[in-house]
């Protein structure tokens, strides 16, 4: 409530102000501006039609769908395994987390238990992906505001982790490393050593980014008190992730619907107070520290063991066995050619990706393909609140609002 008041006093002209009568009568009219779809700060192909009063946004209408590829329709035509590479292309900045969310949903549908080591591996890689996502977000957000240095520094660190992914699964961005029932391959000693080295190297770098930004007057002026959304509104709009927590709502699925190895790790969920862009920035910076903490704990707690559930009708056999054992080869062939049959029913499974709640709603009729697969993409839901959050601010602030959602159009348009 207090936030709303602050917003109106700062941004609306007071009609009773003594100077307002002395102003000369100027002819004013509202201007309609098309922003995008080809615009460097719309984070992809997004168009926004803005009604402007001077430089202030009166109303904005997002026009989406330039990157619509019909992923939900494609899902109905392939087996459950075949959809994993499609999930890479949703949020192409953070493919691992999409794989993770999808595999969790199918495992819930099948009621499949994943071995302990696989759970730890999944958590480690998901948190590495969260660091990559937040670094990418920070660089893009700072670039939107004009701080190019941060962009280069963030990409330097992001590059280390992308190379780490490359060594892990052979791809930097479209990873497809998660499998239904486990993960594709284990961490090698070299990968573990590199990750440990990174964890020692990285926390001082987070401080460095904060030094760049938190004493920077331009950054503070462009983020503090901008795009304020109250907790009630944020909940009502269905926002999630740092965008919701920035408004002071303690909602994190990792804590409140714990999954994978998160319940066995100690970490805190940073929550903001003011609901402005600065708080959302602060939350993401704090989450970088938390991610480092989670990865360290997982590496300590992880024990040797299988990395894939042993359910021959669903999960792939280890590759070595496929080459030496006839039954395993048949199992592999059948899974790749026909897939597996899921029990009839419907589930919704939400996962806390770094942008917010990434959920999959799957309806199965007992066949080897999903009958209906619905993706609850955080970017899409966040765009629903764009008009509300941009009203009363400048055009240049509108650019930072895309940034503060961490929007990726591949996920938004699906």
């Amino acid at each position: 409530m207090a936030l709303e008041d602050q917003r109106t006093t700062v941004y609306k002209v007071d009609p009773n102000h003594p100077e307002s009568e002395t102003l000369p009568a100027l002819r004013t009219e509202e201007l309609l501006l098309n922003m995008g779809p080809q615009h460097p700060s719309t984070h992809g192909v997004l168009k926004v039609i803005m009604e402007l009063e001077g430089e202030r946004v009166v109303k904005s209408t997002p026009v989406m769908g330039y990157l619509h590829r019909g992923v939900e329709k494609l899902a109905e035509d392939g087996t459950y395994h075949q959809f994993i590479p499609h999930t890479d292309r949703l949020d192409y900045v953070c493919a691992m987390y999409n794989n993770f969310a999808y595999c969790r949903a199918v495992e819930k549908l099948l009621d499949l238990k994943v071995p302990d080591r696989a759970e730890y591996l999944r958590t480690i890689v998901a948190e590495v992906q969260r660091i990559i996502g937040h670094l990418f977000w920070l660089s893009a957000q700072a670039l939107d505001i004009g701080a190019m240095t941060v962009f280069f520094y963030c990409f330097r660190d992001r590059e280390i982790l992308l190379d780490w992914f490359d060594e892990l699964c052979g791809a930097r961005l479209t990873t497809s490393w998660y499998r239904i029932g486990g993960v594709e391959r284990d961490l090698t000693p070299s990968l573990i050593a590199k990750l440990k080295a990174f964890l020692d190297y990285f926390p001082p770098k987070i401080d460095e980014y904060q030094v760049f930004l938190e004493k920077n007057r331009i950054w503070l002026a462009r983020t503090k008190g901008i795009a304020v959304i109250s907790a009630e509104d944020a909940i009502n709009f269905g926002l999630s992730g740092p965008t919701l927590r920035g408004s002071g709502v303690d909602y994190d699925l990792r804590k409140y619907e714990p999954y994978s190895a998160y319940p066995r790790c100690e970490f805190s969920v940073p929550v903001g107070k003011n609901g402005d862009t600065y708080d959302r920035y602060w939350i993401r910076m704090m989450e970088l520290y938390e991610s480092v903490k989670i990865i360290k704990q997982c590496l300590e707690q992880m024990e040797e063991g299988p990395i894939m559930a042993e359910v021959p009708s669903v999960t792939f056999p280890p590759k070595q066995r496929v080459f030496t054992n006839l039954e395993s080869m048949i199992q592999q062939f059948k899974l790749f050619s026909q897939g597996f049959k899921a029990p009839p029913g419907e589930i919704y499974c939400g996962t806390e990706a770094h942008k917010g709640e990434l959920g999959f709603y799957i309806v199965s009729t007992g066949g080897s393909k999903p009958y209906r697969l619905k993706i609850r993409a955080p970017s899409f839901v966040h765009m629903g609140a764009f008009d509300h959050m941009a009203r009363g601010y400048m055009i240049s602030d509108a650019c930072t609002i895309f940034g503060t959602y961490d929007i990726v159009m591949g996920e938004c348009d699906r």
Partner: protein, 165 residues
Amino acid sequence: MHPLARRIQETFPTGFVSSTEWRGDVAVTVTRDKVHEIAQFLRDDPSMDFDYIVHVSSVDWPDDEERFEVVWEFYSIRKRHRIRLKTRVPESDCVVDSLTDLWRGANFMEREVYDMMGIRFRNHPDLRRILLPDDFNEGYPLRKDFPLRGKGWRDTFEFLDEQPR
């Protein structure tokens, strides 16, 4: 029956159709005319307190008499429970009440359902296509009778496997 479902059944004996609980998900099917009333109850009743809308979705069952199923998923941030609300809509009268006045986040989600499945939402403030272009006239792509390869001009492409050998 799950206590949440029983509560809905007791409060709305005529609107309640059935409820299921599977893999920990509670789903309640209600009649179409009571959707808005029940949704309002879910949001405002202190023991329900579903303040958060997770997604709006739809499923096409072409062989059923009431062909479409509209699905809402709600979450309560304070009580930390979930519920799925479902209703059936016939093809001839493909309309259901919009919940945008209760959860503003439903605005875009319902537009997407309209875009993809052709279900119209009564009292929706701005019911237009959202992902597909406004002049897209080939129907609703997530319906089961819409071919995967597309309709219209896309259907005139010759695919490799259709060439005579």
